[in-house]
Symmetry: C2
Subunit: 356 residues, 2 copies
């Protein structure tokens, strides 16, 4: 699912506690120019992805974020403002804010509106890499709301029937509160594999499953060094869903990403994202405690299904990530050599103490 769970393959270069890694990431982003508060938000969101096992969306992204800040594509000191507002929604102009800053702002706004209007929506215009969407929907679920988020970025996934990137692996996340079993959290990209997974495969050299990607020339490949373009999940469904997400986010907020990129305009090649978060206040439509009990009951029913003998266990969306979270919170976050070295190089360049 989203990103892909960490393959605990090679011996990690370091195993780092959440606190140490968050401290390090916060230091980096402060040095890169973010306010201490914003630096901490970005650090928390990235490290959360590592805790969940979604290493493709974790601290491995730090060097790229710093690059984006230095290139002026990610704004270290954004003037985030609400540029349109209704009783149930806001349109947030993110001013190229780091994605986690824009998205936590948006999620809070969607929840505030939902508390007033039953449903609340925050549209986000001109953010940057939104990181793991599950962080935001889960935050809403922990406050007792159901939440849904999409984000859109430039083309990196094949459109069904095309031999080139035409849409993005635009993620979708949906979360609902649960009872004893905790929230249920879906966080998936619209590609067969995420772009992060492709980058990870390139680093580790691990072969890709058949039918998951195209090379630069648009030919199917399983070679991780040649794979460039993920194919959409379920063919036209995946690329269709991704296209609709571009419409519901980018076109609604008048900040098209796909056409600008495909037409090769100057702005089209800049790193930009748009997003949407919706929160639903469950208490307006029923008894929230009953809802949580019903989620647990649903989970039990699914887990009691006859199991495919090829599958070790029937899993609920977010369950594996939650287990990894609990283990890594106790045992620390393993960092592969490549990630560790990149972070060490960055720390040295920025004059920051490296952990470990």
């Amino acid at each position: 699912m989203a990103g892909s769970q960490a393959a605990a393959s090679a011996k990690p270069a370091a195993v780092v506690s959440r606190e140490v890694l968050e401290r390090f990431a916060t230091d980096v982003f402060e040095r890169a120019g973010l306010t201490p508060e914003h630096a901490q938000i970005v650090a928390q969101v990235l490290v959360w992805a590592n805790l969940r096992g979604v290493d493709t969306h974790g601290v491995a992204r730090i060097p790229r974020y710093v690059e984006l800040i230095e290139a002026g594509d990610m704004n270290a000191r954004p003037a985030i403002k609400v540029s349109a507002e209704t009783s149930a929604s806001v349109l947030i102009d993110a001013d190229r804010a780091p994605g986690p800053v824009a998205m936590t702002t948006a999620t809070s706004a969607a929840m505030r509106k939902a508390a007033e209007a039953g449903i609340g929506m925050a549209l986000v215009r001109g953010t940057t890499h939104t990181a793991a969407l599950g962080y935001y929907t889960l935050a809403a679920a922990r406050e007792g709301m159901a939440a849904l988020a999409f984000s859109a970025s430039w083309p990196n996934m094949a459109y069904h029937g095309a031999r080139a990137a035409g849409v993005s692996t635009n993620p979708v996340s949906i979360a609902v509160p649960g009872g004893r079993a905790g929230p249920v959290l879906l966080d998936m990209a619209t590609g067969i594999v995420s772009f992060g997974r492709l980058m990870q495969a390139r680093r580790t050299g691990q072969a890709l499953p058949e039918g998951s990607a195209l090379d630069k020339e648009g030919n199917p490949t399983t070679d991780p060094r040649r794979a460039q373009i993920p194919l959409p999940m379920a063919g036209p469904k995946g690329s269709g869903l991704s296209l609709m997400i571009e419409c519901l986010t980018s076109l609604v907020v008048s900040n098209p990403l796909i056409s600008e990129y495909l037409e090769g305009t100057p702005v089209g090649r800049r790193h930009r994202q748009n997003a949407l978060a919706i929160a639903i206040d469950l208490a307006r439509y029923g008894d929230p405690a009953a809802f949580r009990r019903e989620v647990d009951r649903l989970v039990r029913s699914i887990k009691a299904l006859p199991r495919d003998p090829d599958t070790p266990e029937i899993l609920i969306p977010g369950e594996r990530g939650q287990r990894t979270f609990e283990r890594r919170r106790r045992e620390g976050i393993p960092l592969p050599r490549a990630t560790f070295d990149e972070l060490a190089g960055l720390a040295s360049r920025l004059g920051i103490a490296m952990f470990g």
Copy 2:
């Protein structure tokens, strides 16, 4: 995509105009006890699916609808009421209304709320077969709004890792207005194939693609006579999305379908559905005319991508359906022998004149 496009294989038993087919369907539903107004809505929604080429969701469903009415599962004279309301949403208690009646009511309510609050949501509790969701989202798009709809029903699709039906092929539809190219309409089920497509394959004897279904015992099969349970699209993504739709619809409205069914409770085996429609008033967040132009521009960009030589044409969501719509509106709707005979049998039993 949704349902699957009609395979124009065998010679049809009849080719019928939209008007004649709608008149016939309206007569049937009036005879079955619906008000003339409701009968016409159901007829229009079913015939629309045929016009679009989604024959699995068209008039072939009429006999089943009548059966549901006669069994008391579908209520010919529902007392639809709003049981909760906020400034941006309604919870509609559908009283087992025919799905198209509940869903057109819900879509109108979502649009009315969106006109006031920017975003509007209608939750639908206890409806029956919602038919082709694209009808409702397209209706909103034609009024200049973006729309999104989900519906939930009892388990008919395998949950990833299970050898039995555990979730439903719960459809998702998203539509946005367009310019010259018209609205873009995604209407897809979360299964690799829809349940309707499976039923159609059973009727026509056409083999199913590898990896699309399980037989009654939970074994993979391509035999249309043995295939009973569609597999989820993209494995855990499809069944995860479907599970979240059950949560966002059925559990939010306190009308669980999956657990009741899997636990084998008496109510669990009754035909029931729940749904959700969201409308977004584009004019609150930007210039609607610019939005339409940008949709057309996006469509042009996608269509200009280098084409996979194995694909005759790069298609936009809803494009094939729209072409079929235009052709069938001119040339009539072909009805396969099996459907025609079933309808003729029903007409004779109800004492209604058969067309053709």
